[in-house]
């Protein structure tokens, strides 16, 4: 039997959050954590609340904190996260909890929108596609694949402290995705919007973001590139 300790909070009935324990029969299978949640909801307690959609690690719905580490429940096998018998599941840290494992992601999305995450090009569009060499396109690898699951930003102490002013690893990864795109012409405008003590420079290179990213992306490296661009621009 797997011992699961779940973070519970219903704003309508609970004064404070609490941990609830479930003894779950997994029949010895190495399930994904999402499968365990589905099992609990179907067979133990229908009121357990979490987000999920694709169940294959591409939609970013089920970012959770599992035994102390952020990740996607649908691609985290028990064998990877459970040491001993116990699985502790909490919501992503640092964001307001709406209910159980569901957090309010408004601040996270607001930081994403702040970097103007869309291509800007001042010249008229050609009749076919804008040309881009494979080498130029390769600059976007490791950046465009972000699924906005928020595992990185909610593991970042700088984001915990300043979620309203520090863009955070996810937003900055996207900021660099457009700075790095040979088709984008708004580099100067993008950099000037980021050029303040908080937006970028609150990153202290802790690299929690790199450790938890379920897609294997490296926001710290992208932030480093933005810093260099900002510093080169200043001199």
């Amino acid at each position: 039997m797997l011992q699961v300790s779940l973070y519970r909070y219903n704003p309508e009935t609970d004064e404070a959050p609490y941990m609830q324990d479930f003894s779950v029969d997994t029949s010895g299978r190495d399930l994904m954590v999402l499968d365990v949640l589905e099992l609990i909801k179907a067979e133990y307690d229908g009121s357990v609340t979490y987000r999920r959609s694709c169940r294959e690690g591409v939609c970013g719905s089920d970012g959770l904190n599992m035994n102390g580490k952020n990740g996607l429940a649908c691609v985290t096998p028990l064998s990877e996260t459970v040491k001993g018998e116990k699985l502790v599941i909490r919501p992503l840290p640092g964001l307001p909890v709406i209910r159980d494992l569901v957090v309010d992601m408004s601040l996270f999305y607001a930081q994403y929108e702040k970097v103007q995450p869309y291509l800007q090009n001042a010249s008229p569009a050609p009749a076919i596609e804008r040309l881009q060499s494979p080498e130029e396109r390769a600059q976007l690898d490791g950046l465009y694949e972000c699924i906005l699951c928020a595992c990185c930003s909610t593991s970042c102490p700088s984001f915990w402290w300043n979620p309203d002013r520090f863009v955070g690893p996810a937003g900055l990864l996207q900021a660099y995705r457009f700075l790095a795109d040979s088709r984008d012409t708004a580099t100067e405008e993008r950099l000037s919007k980021l050029d303040d003590p908080f937006s970028v420079f609150r990153c202290h290179g802790i690299q929690n973001c790199v450790n938890v990213c379920p897609k294997g992306l490296n926001p710290t490296k992208a932030i480093g590139h933005i810093r260099t661009m900002l510093l080169n621009r200043a001199t």
């Binding site: 909801k41 179907a42 987000r51 959609s53 939609c59 970013g60 999305y109 906005l148």
Partner: protein, 587 residues
Amino acid sequence: MRTISFDGVIVGGGGAGMRAALQLAQSGYKTAVISKVFPTRSHTVSAQGGITCAIASADPEDDWRWHMYDTVKGSDYIGDQDAIEYMCSVGPEAIFELEHMGLPFSRTEEGRIYQRPFGGQSKNFGEGGQAARTCAAADRTGHALLHTLYQNNIKNETVFFNEWFAVDLVKNQDGAVVGVIAICIETGETVYVKSKATVFATGGAGRIYASTTNAHINTGDGMGMALRAGVPAQDMEMWQFHPTGIYGAGTLVTEGCRGEGGYLVNKDGERFMERYAPNAKDLAGRDVVARSMVLEILEGRGCGPNGDHVKLKLDHLGEDVLESRLPGICELSRTFAHVDPVKEPIPVVPTCHYMMGGIPTNVHGQALTVDASGNDAVIPGLYACGEVACVSVHGANRLGGNSLLDLVVFGRASGLFIEKSLREGIELRDASQTDIDAAGCRLEALNARESGEQVAPLRQELQEIMQNHFGVFRTGEFMREGIAKLDDLRARVENVALADRSNAFNTSRIECLELQNLFETAEATAIVAEARDESRGAHAREDFTERDDENWLCHSLYHGEDKKVSKRSVNFTPQTVETFQPMARSY
């Protein structure tokens, strides 16, 4: 109940919904998207291999008419030729727009969009060999497309109601659609969202089957709402089983794997598709490949201790090709099959993937019904695009890469048409309180019910009936048994009980409402599948093994109110090319 008003409301925040929304938002009309998940969590995100379109990058001579020929043939001749003509000819413009919006397509040495071969593709109307027509962003094309569309909706300040769930259609006294009842999932508030144009872009319903590549959220919400409101459903027997779902997990492995040179093997290591489709081999139509796989398994040549799957061999392509062209597949295979495709083949099995049927529409996205004399009639106020719609470009079998093109082209077309209609003026009478109450009664009943069965076991029962009785191969007798089981299940699903009565983020309530939508979709599928006594495209009858053009070269139309099936003509009159006449279909 509060009322919120818009010029256009789009239900569904996937590719089709966001493309339609973008078109309307750019026109300045007051536009809202209602999505039960944050838009980038929609199932479009899982599309992998690409978007098929004759942009003449891989082959400068490529021609949209060749793409049209392939699509008509792929549909087993019940795709509407005017709609296929529109999709294939407008496609390049729609693709270039996406590129201009920033979609990070993979590139050729010339700097153009990379295109890979996919199943069912040919040059020169089937005479010129395999084409490479599927535009790709590695094997994450859906993700790249969906995020690009969301980003451009942010840019154009579209209003999003994220994590809102549409419950049912509101119709006025004239039978026109004038919006939906929707729940804000976070607070539980129910609102009447009033609109001059209501666009269904709610996606598919693969979750009617126990084994599916589809996300948990693909529960046929649009089909459920439409059928309850008296809108007919077209070609619902046509479900695509994708040849390569990962054995056990159901997660998709793109056809692009075979496009890049991968192939299927049985337990003897034989490349068996050479026997079933000597020319196209592993790149035959999906229905053909899926059936061949099932036959291999049934004839004892399946892999594994139970002989119940086959394998997809990729290791001969080399690590460089796999990591650059198919990085997502490598990741999925390692996670869900515990197999590294660089070294070993991936265990795969045909898995429910796509609903070819849906709400019948014209090329402008206007939903259609039939009048008393059997002629098409537009349903005022209602539009549909993407997987929930049946325009029909896929007919009895969809070609790989055509779903993304369908959703972009017809999302765009719906937006363009609604913009024009709004400019000319749309006059619909307001819904009365009685009309609004009628739309709210299903939710009302669920909230009031004190007893009943739980949602999870009912859903499982439904999925198993569909899996067992309406799979890749079908027989009349066995389907009639399945229909009887569904008859028994209907009242139980209608009386499903809420496990949780809270207002705040109550996913139990949503799952109950979704289950009822799944049921409507499944029942339509079952009844029409039993009625179509021929084999065509994805619909393979063991008791009627031949295609019957005399009786069934037509769409099926299912009417939910009396559970009757009627027939509707297929369009054979494209505007700029000659009709493609039905021929024997072989690959």
